[in-house]
Amino acid sequence: MKKLSAVTVALFLVIISCFSGYAAGINAAEQSVLSNMRTPANMNGHKVYVPAAYINQAEAHFNTIDMTQQQADTINGIISQGRAFLEGTGKSNIKDLTSSQKQTLLSYASKAANVLKLTAVAGSDENRIKIITKDGTVIVDESNNIIKTTGYSSLLTPVLAGSALFIALVCASAGLIILKKRELVYEKN
């Protein structure tokens, strides 16, 4: 019986993994969400747009799912609420929002993500947003840095540690020499 269960589970996993890839394509529902995301918010006379990087990442994700019209309608409603909230803050851009206003904005993103069974969380700093799937797969990890740090390598850690070690050794040795000399001076006296 145990063997049969194991084989069944294994077969199930194989079938799941076979269907883990999705064909690219943006259906009408997904297009309506992307179009809504591209609509700017009018903040105190300034047009504020969702950054292209976010919209493109949404498009990339939509290429891996099939959103229903009902889901799209719910998400579009939340996006419109979020836009109305932004316009009602009286501020001219996102940077001017208070922390609690940013949290409210994040809650709209979170609600929209929940419709697709995704979770939106703020990262280690306020400007970072992560969207993760139920199983923990990160589908969006967005910070203000589109251009990444590509010079930091694993070699840097030993280099830094080595330098710190060298400095500490020099300081400790210098301290020892000074103390020894002073002791000698006192001994002479």
Partner: protein
């Protein structure tokens, strides 16, 4: 006079004792500690990243992915035609290898990932998830480390051909420009572009360890490869 001499001698003894104590209880332990640390560090250097990874799991608030493993959905294709249907494209998700990138005779030959996080850059080069995959008809922004997979970018010249192979088609881009710019210079890319353009970048100067402010950008135009059609239903 004798009293003063005795006093001085006692003060001298106290100072000597103090310095001896300082040497025995502070400097020597620090020195031994540093030397021991250095020894252990050198001995464990090959496993250091794993040790840091495990340590970080307990120290960080958010989940971090230090995995060296990744999923590979790349299977070589011989499609060099003009189009490929969107239904035939297995759109990659983050940290999946979906192709390879090569610039012949320039020392660039790497696995191509979707996403430019640590998993991608440890194992190859990565397409920024806020840009697009080859064939999509938009911007493809690819990064790689300057001391590993994109070190060869220092050798590229205008006219060189970048070959990208994916499971749904093979692409060629001709390098038409290079540029050194600050990392926060937003004029180096256009994520709203409506024509296919390839941007590869790495930290500059090359061979410099550590964090650098500048990036070396390489720009390319598409010269062949199937355009993905039927994306918008």
């Amino acid at each position: 006079m004798k009293k003063t001499k005795t006093k001085n001698s006692r003060a001298l003894k106290r100072r000597k004792k103090f310095f001896k104590g300082l040497r025995h209880f502070l400097l020597i332990p620090v020195l031994v500690c540093v030397l021991l640390y250095g020894f252990i560090f050198t001995a464990t250097m090959p496993f250091m990243s794993d040790i840091f990874s495990i340590g970080s799991m307990f120290l960080q608030n958010e989940d971090a992915n230090y995995s060296r493993s990744y999923e590979n959905i790349f299977t070589p294709s011989d499609n060099t035609g003009d189009t490929v249907n969107a239904d035939d494209v297995d759109y990659p998700s983050i940290d999946k290898q979906f192709g390879t990138l090569k610039i012949e005779n320039r020392g660039v030959d790497a696995k191509l990932f979707f996403g430019d996080g640590s998993v991608a850059l440890r194992n190859g080069v990565g397409v920024y998830a806020g840009s697009f995959i080859p064939g999509y008809g938009k911007t493809i922004l690819i990064s790689g480390h300057n001391n590993t997979y994109f070190n060869g970018l220092k050798n590229v010249k205008k006219g060189d051909i970048v070959k990208i192979r994916t499971s749904y088609g093979n692409y060629e881009y001709r390098i038409n420009n290079t540029r050194i710019a600050k990392a926060d210079d937003k004029s180096t890319y256009d994520l709203n572009a409506e024509e296919e353009n390839l941007i590869m970048y790495t930290c500059y100067p090359f061979d410099e360890l550590g964090l650098t402010e500048q990036r070396f950008f390489v720009y390319g135009e598409k010269i062949s490869g199937p355009a993905i059609v039927g994306i918008y239903e």
